[in-house]
Amino acid sequence: MDINVDNLISQMADQLSARLEGRPEPLMIGIHTGGVWVASQLHELLQLSEPLGILNIAFYRDDFSRIGKHPNVEPSNLPFDVDNRDVILVDDVLYTGRTIRAAMNEIFDYGRPSSISLAALLDRSGRELPIQADVVGRQLSLSEEEHVKLCGPSPLTLQISKPG
């Protein structure tokens, strides 16, 4: 499957700017690592004034008791106060919804935003939690055995692998 990621991101930027009318100076937060790649492009396209935030949800995952800690990664860095701000949370692939749940839990440990919107490059089937994106680059219907991965940071390409 050939998907042009840059085109998807510029479509997302258009949808976001429509959505952001009446919400001046939103904060953008990308989820490590793929979400950060997508977010940094969106951040540039939308010419946001606040710096881009980076969220690493390794400490908020719900599978620690099963598989332990994830290997070392960059810590989260939110270089702003989230209190009473409109937050746009960005991830590459929205799948089970567990990453987004963990990300929202972490954001609330920094403060109380007035709203959070979710932007995802891909929205694939397989949700396990009642979470949906507000802005989506593309919907994909994949079976449980199929995997999709964003490769980057430059250029951004999508890899879809089927079993066997």
């Binding site: 390794a58 400490f59 908020y60 620690f64 008791s65 099963r66 598989i67 332990g68 800690k69 070392n72 990664v73 810590p75 989260s76 839990n105 972490e106 609330f108 440990d109 920094y110 403060g111």
Partner: protein, 322 residues
């Protein structure tokens, strides 16, 4: 079984944390990198992450220590674990219960980790060798043997101020003989590959043969401090001050107490450390302890991050086993 065999799992991951001895450089760096991730947690609105939620950690302090105990408590709390501290001196062992019986009881309460402080060398090792396999043991200081988390927070503090260990000259000053902190620091700093490691103190307080651990011995403070990047001052314990090993506290201060004047031969940007609690006017002058080179209070904050790192790493290893 050696500490090394006991504290690592077959994949070489940290299962218990008993001593620095036997841990390789990669693992020490891994602990430091983990701690780096936890430093920011204390500065947020909600000072905790849910990593160890639902875990029960028991502080077993057979020997009193306010600072170490509270930083372990804070570290556990910031990882969302439940922690209780038992002051064993006042409890069941006084009534004749053996150490292993106390352990069995705490295991029966479904504990996941014991943090052990004991005046006997090897106590944490003994407990680690006898606990149920799902429990991790952290040594919070045992006799004259080891205080690995203190050593790691010290090297963490050094790394945050000075990047490359291989360029550094480090001096440890004072009662090296009775110091488990010094022993653990020597292992950690040599494993991390500092350029030169010195110990400075009177002959009576420097163990003979310590050169075999890869250190240079100085009995003259001024000479030992020349060109160093880091000075670690050790606490002179009160009970030693009046013993046969030392003339008097004031005499000690005159010869080995750290003052601005004596420090002038160290590098201009040298940092001064102390594991606390400090004896002002005995091993260190107030002007130094409160001065611009002092990183003593940063050591305390870093102690929380290091303990969070070690706790999450051992719990992670055990999670992977199940």
């Amino acid at each position: 079984m050696t500490d090394k065999q006991l504290q690592l799992d077959p994949q070489g991951r940290l299962k218990h944390f008993l001593s620095i001895e036997g841990l390789n450089r990669k693992l020490l760096v891994d602990i430091l990198d983990n701690a780096e991730q936890f430093v920011g947690v204390g500065e947020r609105t909600v000072k905790k992450v849910p990593l160890l939620r639902g875990k029960t950690i028991v502080n077993l302090f057979f020997e009193p220590s306010t600072r170490t105990r509270t930083t372990f408590e804070l570290a556990a709390t910031r990882l969302s674990a439940d922690i209780l501290s038992i002051d064993i001196e006042k409890s069941a062992t006084r009534k004749g219960e053996t150490l292993l019986d106390t352990l069995r009881n705490l295991e029966a309460m479904h504990s996941d980790m014991f943090v052990v402080r004991h005046s006997n060398s090897g106590a944490a090792h003994l407990i680690a060798a006898n606990v149920a396999p799902h429990i991790s043991v952290i040594n919070a200081g045992d006799g004259r043997h080891a205080h690995p988390s203190q050593a790691m927070l010290d090297v963490f503090t050094i790394r945050r101020h000075k990047q490359d260990f291989y360029k550094l000259k480090v001096a440890i000053v004072g009662d090296v003989m009775h110091s488990r902190v010094a022993r653990s620091e020597i292992h950690a700093l040599n494993t991390l590959g500092v350029q030169e490691l010195r110990v400075i103190g009177p002959k009576t307080l420097i163990p003979t043969g310590i050169e075999d651990m890869g250190v240079h011995v100085y009995h003259d403070l001024q000479e030992g401090l020349r060109d160093v990047d880091v000075v670690i001052t050790l606490r002179l314990q009160h009970e030693r001050m009046e013993g046969p090993l030392l003339p008097s506290a004031s005499e000690y201060f005159k010869l080995y107490g750290l003052t601005e004047k004596k420090l002038s031969v160290a590098k201009d940007d040298a940092i001064v450390m102390h594991p606390g609690p400090i004896n002002r006017g005995v091993e260190i002058d107030s002007e130094v302890a409160d001065g611009k080179r002092s990183v003593i209070l940063q050591q305390v904050s870093h102690g929380i991050a290091i303990r969070m790192a070690v706790m999450s790493m051992t719990m992670s290893t055990l999670a992977g086993q199940q």
